[in-house]
Structure formats: structure tokens, C-alpha cells
């Protein structure tokens, strides 16, 4: 039974990481109406940014986390301006292919400059260990739990109560009406990508501290977060978090009890099952 709960705990932690990435993706989908298949690369670059700020600048782990988030926020905004702005409002296949091109370019540039060998981010938290009701919990995993909850709450507050957040919701509802009401829509687009980049960087840094950092880490994560966004409903924070934790649990429990080799196939089966049983999405409600 202890093994079961350990797997559940691991699944929840995995889900928290997925939630951070998928939330950014979901926001981008909701506001720009396009799927960013390069989102996993933001996560990978964020992890490398944190890694290099620790190894070369010798800053403590949390400072590196902040540097990575800030750096990727700026990077995300720049990428939005150069790459994604021209395809806003174009057919979905254009934005899809453009983000695939971006993803290929970024992943291979990272492979060229940073080399393929996996590296670990030294967080200094590995030595802290907790034992709680027979469950093992390392310092990093604790930090992941706390950090993701904090970031998600902060994001929810930001979107709900600040003026920028309200403008973002307005743009998501109706771009033209928002523009008529005097909202600077292109600024909102940049801010959305900045938020997405920062969240992905936070997730990448945490994964880098827990496992390792490598240029190929982005692609599978992109696919999984796409599934999460599809399951949870586009632009719905609660649904996305729920779906992320569900996918984390399915992977962790399925990998532990059914077959580890087939673990990449579970999200697909889940997706198929869901669309057969509940075509309206996990959280119900009509989708556009």
C-alpha cells in the first residue's frame, strides 16, 4: 500500500509540473487561438538558463529560478512578436506548422550549442529528505508542490483581479470588441507569451533539479501538455490543472502497475476514451 501511495504522490508531483506547462499553453490558445507546439522548447530553454546561471554566475537555486523565469518571459515575448504575430487569425495549420518549425529550430540549436549530454541542476535541496507516513519526499519535490501551487494561485489572482488580467480575459472573449474598448491587443499577446514562457521555465528548472536537463526534453512534454489542454478544455484553469494531475497519475500508476514500456501510449488511450464517453470535455460545458 505504501508503494501505491508513493506512486500517487509521484503522479501528483508530475501533474504539478505538467500543469505549469499546460497552463501557459492553454492561455496562449485561449487568447491567440493557436497551439504553440514549441512550448516544450520554452521549458527546455528555461531549464538551461537556470543551469547556466548556477554554473557560471554561481547564484543560489531560487535566484536561478527567477532568472530563468524572467529570461524566458522576455524570450517568449520576443518570439511572439517575430514568429507568431504574422499568423494571428490565419488558419490553424499555419500556426501549427510555424510552431513546429520553431520547435525544430530551437531544439536543434540547443543540441548544437549545449550538446546532448544530460546535466543536472544542483539545487542543494537533494539532501533534505522527509519521511511522512512511510512516504519519501525529497526537498525538490516539496519545493515543486509549494511552487506550483503558489504560481497557479498567483496566476489565477492575476487573471481575475488585475487590469491586465481583465484585459486578457476580454481579448479571449472577443478580440475585436476588446480592441474597440481600447485594449492594446498586441501588448496582451506579448504578455500572454511572456507568462507562458515564465511558467514553462519554472517547470523546466524544477524538472532539471529533480531529473536532468537535455535538449530533447521538450518534445514529449509538448505533446503531453497538448493532451492536457485538450482534456481540460481550452482556456480553463481548473480543468487544465485537473487534467494535468490526471495525466500525471495515469502515467505514474500505469507505468508502475501495467507496463512501463507503454507509458507514452496511455495519454492517447485516455484521450480516445474521453472523447468516446464525454465528447464535451472533462469539465463539461460547450466548447467553441
Amino acid at each position: 500500500m505504501a508503494v501505491f501511495f508513493q506512486q500517487v504522490l509521484n503522479g501528483v508531483i508530475l501533474g504539478c509540473i505538467y500543469a505549469l506547462i499546460a497552463l501557459g499553453l492553454s492561455l496562449i490558445y485561449g487568447i491567440l487561438e493557436m497551439a504553440n507546439f514549441a512550448h516544450g522548447e520554452f521549458y527546455m530553454l528555461g531549464a538551461f538558463m537556470a543551469l547556466f546561471s548556477i554554473t557560471t554566475l554561481r547564484v543560489p537555486f531560487f535566484a536561478a529560478l527567477l532568472i530563468a523565469m524572467a529570461g524566458m518571459a522576455v524570450f517568449g515575448a520576443i518570439i511572439e512578436r517575430i514568429v507568431f504575430r504574422p499568423v494571428v487569425g490565419k488558419p490553424l495549420i499555419n500556426s501549427m506548422l510555424i510552431s513546429f518549425g520553431l520547435s525544430t529550430a530551437l531544439a536543434n540549436a540547443a543540441l548544437f550549442f549545449f550538446k546532448a549530454d544530460p546535466r543536472k541542476i544542483e539545487s542543494g535541496l537533494t539532501r533534505i529528505r522527509f519521511r511522512f507516513l512511510g512516504l519519501h519526499l525529497t526537498g525538490e519535490r516539496c519545493v515543486i508542490l509549494v511552487l506550483s501551487v503558489t504560481l497557479v494561485l498567483f496566476l489565477a489572482w492575476f487573471i481575475q483581479y488585475t487590469t491586465t488580467g481583465k484585459s486578457m480575459r476580454a481579448v479571449a472573449q472577443d478580440r475585436i470588441a476588446a480592441q474597440l474598448a481600447g485594449i492594446n491587443v498586441s501588448n496582451i499577446f506579448s504578455i500572454t507569451f511572456a507568462i507562458g514562457g515564465a511558467l514553462a521555465a519554472a517547470a523546466g528548472t524544477m524538472v532539471g533539479a529533480m531529473f536532468f536537463v537535455s535538449p530533447e526534453m521538450g518534445f514529449t512534454v509538448t505533446l503531453k501538455s497538448c493532451v492536457i489542454v485538450a482534456l481540460g478544455g481550452f482556456g480553463k484553469i481548473k480543468g487544465v490543472i485537473f487534467a494535468a494531475i490526471l495525466i500525471g497519475l495515469v502515467e505514474s500508476l500505469g507505468g508502475g502497475y501495467i507496463s512501463y514500456a507503454y507509458k507514452d501510449a496511455y495519454p492517447f488511450l485516455l484521450l480516445i476514451l474521453l472523447f468516446i464517453l464525454r465528447p464535451e470535455g472533462l469539465m463539461g460545458g460547450k466548447r467553441k
Binding site: 490558445y29 497551439a35 514568429v83 504574422p86 499568423v87 490565419k90 488558419p91 490553424l92 495549420i93 499555419n94 501549427m96 506548422l97 510555424i98 513546429f100 518549425g101 520553431l102 520547435s103 525544430t104 529550430a105 530551437l106 531544439a107 536543434n108 540549436a109 543540441l111 548544437f112 505533446l223 497538448c226 493532451v227 485538450a230 481550452f234 514500456a261 507503454y262 507514452d264 501510449a265 495519454p267 492517447f268 488511450l269 484521450l271 480516445i272 472523447f275 468516446i276 465528447p279
Partner: protein
């Protein structure tokens, strides 16, 4: 184009492709040409799904892989000749496409793309892990070449690249003709109606699910054919060939040429098989250059090269109200 000019045009094009091996007879060039024929079939079959019926699929490499594996397994394990296994693999890939199509084609847009992408991942996982059948990551070796055929006493052997080139040419032009017939029939009109406006198509009595599944099945079947041809040409297959990146690659070919035409995907397939060979000069940065080129291309020529050219010509010649025959 009236009937005579069209006939002449086709004859000239066929003569051109027939003559190519006379001018480029180095094995390296011939290999690239055979690969462009395989990609032309793949791009055409995907164009039927993405371009004509408007369903964005990222799972096309899965059908390509299913065809390749079925044909390879049938010929290595059961000793069935290529001329049989080719059709059987197409049939099997079509069956898989039909089942998957029935399941996923209710979805639209991004969700459809993501689900089909995951279907590709699923097929890859099975290829890698069902070791007793697929031999896992080691792949299948020792696939026999197509057996010689006896045509009225004329012995046709298929062993050099030139032979494969002509066999591929027959396959590609056959597929082209088949798709041309579909696209210029009422069925093709129904597909375009589904692409342009599903609700409207439904309201005039088109069974949209049937049309979509039909396009998906035919597309999957033709991709399976291309896979069988690939398996018996390279004589070795492994799961790394049939990943999602391959799906994206095929999709890019379709978009590059222009997706709602038939000549466009062929053009895209030829260009994008030859161009990466030039990019080899960039060495390790090859894929970076490819990604950047893709971004630049989508920003500048969103309709594809053939599509842009055609709409430019159309605007110039003022062909209005004339039936668009799909070319």
C-alpha cells in the same frame, strides 16, 4: 485547358519523368528520385485528408509505418510475394485508418491534430515494444526485393535503382490518376463542401462523417502502399523512420506545394526531398536551418508555392466561374 492540350501536357510530363534516369544515372541521384516518388504518394494521400476534406492529421506516418511493417512481415515471415503483400498492406493500413477515422474524426481542429499525433506515438510505441512480432528498435532486416514478373515472356526484374524508379513512377502516376478521379467527382465536391463549411454541407444532405472517414481511409490506404514500396526498396525498416517528425515532414510537403491542389503536393514532395540534400552543407545546423526556413516560408507564402502561383495566374487570366478541376 481543353482535352487535347491536357493530353499533350500529361504526355510531355510523363516523357520528362521517363527520361530522367537517362540524364542522372548516378545511384545517389536515383535514390533521391525514388524517395521523392514515395514522398509524392504520401503527400498526395495526405492532401486528400488535409487539403480536400480539411481535417488536419498529424498521424500520417503511422499509416506509412503500418503499411511498411505489414508488407515486411508478410514477406519475411510468410514468404508472400511483394505483388501480393503490397495490396494486402494497403488494405490493412486502410482498415486501421477506417477504425481510427471512425473514432477520432468527430473531433475538430487542434484536438483532432493532437489526437492523430498521439496515434502516431501509439504506433511507434507498439513498433518499439512488441518485440516478438516487430523485433523492436532493431527493426526488420532481410526484406526480399519484388520477385521478377513475367509479362508475356518478357522477364522484368526489379533490382537496380532505375527499376525501382520506373516502378515508383507507375505507382505515383497511378495514385495521381486515382486521386484526380476522386477529386473531380461529386465525392471530391462533397469533400470540399465539408472543408469549407460543415454545417452547410450537412444541411444540403452530405453525410459529413462518411465523407471524412472515406478521405481518411483512402489516405491511409495510399500511405500504406507507399510504406510497402519503401520497405521493399530500402530492404530494412525500423521504428525511427515512422515517427511524428515524419508526419510533420509530409504535412510540410503538402503545405509547401499548396494543399488544395494535386500538383502542389507532388511539387512539394520533390522539392523537400531534394532541398534537404543541399542543406547538408550546413552540417549540424541543418535542422536549425530547416526550422527557420519553415517559419519564414509560412509567414511569406501561406498558400504554398503552387497555390500562390495558381491564384496569381487565375487572377491574371480571369478564369471565373469555370469549374476548378483540382489540378
Amino acid at each position: 485547358m481543353n482535352k487535347t492540350t491536357r493530353f499533350l501536357f500529361i504526355a510531355v510530363v510523363l516523357a520528362f519523368f521517363y527520361a530522367i534516369p537517362q540524364f542522372f544515372n548516378e545511384p545517389y541521384f536515383l535514390h533521391i528520385f525514388v524517395m521523392s516518388e514515395i514522398y509524392a504518394v504520401l503527400a498526395l494521400s495526405l492532401a486528400l485528408i488535409v487539403g480536400f476534406s480539411g481535417q488536419v492529421s498529424l498521424g500520417h506516418a503511422a499509416f506509412y509505418g503500418v503499411g511498411a511493417y505489414v508488407s515486411a512481415l508478410l514477406s519475411t515471415r510468410l514468404g508472400i510475394s511483394f505483388w501480393m503483400s503490397f495490396w494486402l498492406s494497403a488494405l490493412f493500413a486502410g482498415l486501421v485508418a477506417y477504425i481510427i477515422g471512425r473514432l477520432v474524426l468527430r473531433l475538430r481542429g487542434h484536438i483532432l491534430a493532437i489526437t492523430t499525433a498521439f496515434f502516431c506515438v501509439l504506433v511507434g510505441v507498439i513498433m518499439n515494444n512488441w518485440i516478438p512480432v516487430t523485433n523492436g528498435p532493431m527493426g526488420i532486416t532481410g526484406i526480399p526485393r519484388p520477385a521478377p514478373i513475367n509479362l508475356f515472356g518478357l522477364q522484368l526484374v526489379i533490382e537496380s535503382r532505375v527499376h525501382y524508379y520506373y516502378l515508383g513512377l507507375i505507382m505515383a502516376s497511378g495514385v495521381m490518376f486515382f486521386l484526380y478521379r476522386i477529386v473531380s467527382s461529386r465525392l471530391g465536391d462533397a469533400m470540399i463542401a465539408v472543408r469549407e463549411n460543415e454545417e452547410l454541407a450537412q444541411s444540403i444532405g452530405i453525410d459529413i462523417m462518411k465523407i471524412k472517414v472515406f478521405a481518411f481511409t483512402v489516405g491511409g490506404m495510399l500511405a500504406g502502399m507507399a510504406g510497402a514500396f519503401y520497405a521493399h526498396y530500402i530492404l530494412f525498416i525500423s521504428p525511427v523512420t515512422f515517427t511524428m517528425n515524419e508526419s510533420i515532414n509530409i504535412l510540410v510537403m503538402v503545405i509547401f506545394g499548396g494543399m488544395n491542389t494535386l500538383l502542389g503536393p507532388v511539387f512539394g514532395a520533390i522539392c523537400l526531398t531534394i532541398l534537404p540534400e543541399f542543406l547538408r552543407m550546413a552540417g549540424e545546423l541543418r535542422l536549425v536551418a530547416y526550422g527557420v526556413a519553415l517559419v519564414v516560408f509560412i509567414v511569406w507564402l501561406p498558400m504554398g508555392i503552387w497555390g500562390t502561383l495558381r491564384s496569381y495566374l487565375m487572377a491574371k487570366v480571369h478564369i471565373k466561374g469555370k469549374k476548378d478541376n483540382g489540378l
